[in-house]
Symmetry: C2
Subunit: 440 residues, 2 copies
């Protein structure tokens, strides 16, 4: 085997980078559980027909076959999931008789899309999703709650400040109806491109593809230009002079989300009428989140309310959820050296070995520290003491323990301080017990 | 969408089962980190040529293609990994300049094999691997250490007693050489089938496929019948009267493993000469682990020493590792109801809502409990109090909090006990804070 090359679009982390990712993932899981979300994991693989029926990403699906599949392809029809929402909806339908509704779950897993790789966009990427799904009706207060859970989760991370931009599909689609546009879903998909292609190209697409008049296109762009960190957007939209029942519903719902979010997490949410989301299945509030200084990554946490994603004919299961792009946030920050760990191993103490005959004594000492929760490993060889210190130093292990005629001694290899200890009593300083994230 | 059906071989867990799996995985990670193993994750996808060059599972690999791949198949040549050892060896080679050796890592991820599903054998399954890999030479004491880490990890789990069966490839291959068999690797692969097909069929295969005489086949079976929980196996093997240098090396190494393991984890390891392992790359100690009462599942934790798996031409990276079959252990125990959780949600406290106008007060109360580490959710609706209690009861949430004119009251819905509390002071009993695993 010659030295293998990385696969473009499949980022992998070095051990010290992985410590950062691990702690981020643990933090997210802890916050979600504090809010009563239960964890599930779904299989990586879904029937292709499910994957292909859900929105614009279908063309990027990875299809599977067994190497030794029958020639008749009896094994075909499976692919890797491209998000966690579609598998979750399938899981809910499959297990609806065994779940209690409203069902709150979080899910942290990789997804796969065969996209052209670029910064923040990978072929294999990790997402952390929360959703609340109900049977029949889903109360609107969940559209506020999921945003607040995300505020709690993201604000505890060592990343640049983030802001969530919210809109409501009813508001936009009602407005488009109000100005006389028929294919409001197509109009939404075009408005979704605004940041990428600019207002002129959007206006042209609206005219060309949804047969909007130049005046209608301008009205759509006027709406998209409105944003506010409070409910003042309601007046701004009313001033555009469009009336429509669906628009009114959307205005009321969005105002409620902005108001409640401002009360609980001031400054986190901003109403932004250009947010549309590319996926067809959203029907109410939609969310996108931008990280300050990293706007070019696009949204690092997106989602929305979906009323019709899951239905088994007898019941429908409306839901609302948000998805944090763990890889999209972390891989660029790690690659730029903005995030690092204090060491590359979990180990807090290295037990030195004076000669190989004493290895089992060293193992026993190490085990006593582990019983008390101190991550400990034993030196790989009975090399000179200086070499064993160097071994610890290279990995960032802060302490070396050794037994000699004077008893058991611990050395802080950063300061050189050394003291005689009782291994059943000694505790490392709290900040040294585990590796920590450092920002740079 | 009609109700979807499960995919055979792709087990998924209900929320309360997933709590069990989560706690098992957390326990394993905690033990591995206490022993100084760093976590890594590798991509799910490897180049097909890598996957197909490593042993007998190659025929069960899932091959990938992008749905919209070019007609020339420029995208081809990728597959899902079938274990975590092959990706780990590739990761080590790819990053060898950035890693410090010996490198101790653990990895907990799903793997995929297109096998016929049966109990304990799935098409998607989770494994937890530990390995120590070095550059150039790997000291033999790691062959003891990885077994002891696994002893620590498995003994802390709420599963039936387990026992690790160890052998050494040098011992078996040296013995086969000593009796005059040439293709010792083929002989090993045949002996590996002993439990499945029995001694007569094994003898026949040895005669037919490696051209053993009936006497040579009998000698191999005699060796395979030897096992001992101490080093008495050395005398038993010597009594067979075969002499060979490689055999002697193997005897010495295996005796050292058994002796050291017996000292540190009495009763965990048994020397068992019929253990061979199917994979070609093992070169020293090999391990299999059986769970009492679940022998039919086969080995729930296997591995071995491999000297030649990873080499970049300039350096070789010998290693030793073990892999715990998380799905193989847990799915049968969960499906049989032997393991369960005390509740199906992380939630410890449900905050009741008297009417919708008070939802934001309820949210604020909940947030104060969360700040103190108590998993809390707010009632989905301002239903009658009895209905809110029932909501908690159905999910196993032990406490309901409500605010009235007398202050903030907490009710233990199991006992009915109710008391006025200060939410900034109150702590639930330790055993109620998180869901716990119960065995049945």
């Amino acid at each position: 085997m010659s030295r293998p090359q990385p696969l473009s679009g499949f980022p992998e982390l070095l051990p010290r980078q992985r410590i950062v990712e691990q702690q981020v993932v643990e933090h997210l899981g802890r916050v979600f559980e504090l809010h009563g979300f239960a964890n599930i994991q779904t299989r990586a693989i879904e029937p292709l027909d499910q994957l292909l029926s859900k929105g614009e990403t279908s063309k990027e699906v990875y299809v599977l076959r067994r190497l030794q599949a029958d020639a008749d392809g009896g094994d075909a029809g499976l692919g890797l999931h491209f998000d966690l929402t579609v598998p979750f909806a399938r899981y809910v339908l499959e297990n609806s008789g065994k779940l209690n509704f409203p069902f709150r779950r979080y899910q942290i897993q990789p997804c796969w899309r065969g996209e052209r790789p670029q910064e923040g966009r990978y072929r294999e990427f990790w997402q952390a999703d929360i959703d609340v799904i109900d049977q029949g009706e889903l109360p609107a207060h969940y559209e506020v709650e999921v945003a607040l859970v995300i505020a709690d989760a993201l604000r505890g991370l060592p990343i640049p400040p983030v802001r969530m931009h919210v809109n409501n599909r009813k508001l936009s689609q009602g407005f488009y109806q109000g100005v006389g546009i028929e294919d409001t879903e197509a109009a939404l998909r075009i408005i979704d491109k605004l940041d990428k292609i600019g207002p002129d190209a959007v206006a042209k697409l609206l005219v060309d593809e949804v047969k909007a008049s130049p005046e209608q296109a301008e009205a759509c762009l006027n709406l998209a230009s409105i944003s506010a960190s409070d409910t003042s957007f309601v007046g701004d939209i009313r001033a555009l002079g469009v009336t429509n029942d669906l628009l009114e519903e959307g205005l009321t719902e969005l105002a409620a989300v902005v108001e409640a979010a401002n009360e609980a997490a001031p400054g986190f949410v901003v109403a932004d009428m250009k947010i549309a989301r590319g996926l067809d299945y959203y029907t109410g509030t939609v969310y996108e989140t931008v990280m300050e200084g990293y706007e070019s990554l696009g949204s690092i946490c997106s989602g929305g309310r979906y009323d019709k994603l899951a239905s088994d004919g007898k019941n429908t299961y409306p839901g609302v959820g948000l998805s944090i792009g763990i890889s999209r946030i972390l891989v660029p920050l790690l690659q730029a050296g903005k995030l690092d760990a204090t060491r590359e191993v979990p180990t807090c103490v290295l037990v030195a070995v004076a000669n190989e005959d004493e290895r089992s004594n060293a193992n026993a000492l190490a085990q006593r520290l582990r019983r008390r929760g101190v991550p400990t490993q034993v030196s790989p060889s009975a090399a000179k003491f200086g070499k064993q210190i160097k071994f610890a130093d290279k990995r960032g292990i802060p302490f070396v323990l050794f037994a000699n005629e004077e008893g058991t001694q611990i050395k802080d290899i950063r300061s050189g301080d050394q003291e005689t200890i009782d291994v059943d009593q000694w505790d490392p300083p709290v900040q040294d017990l585990y590796a920590r994230i450092v920002t740079g």
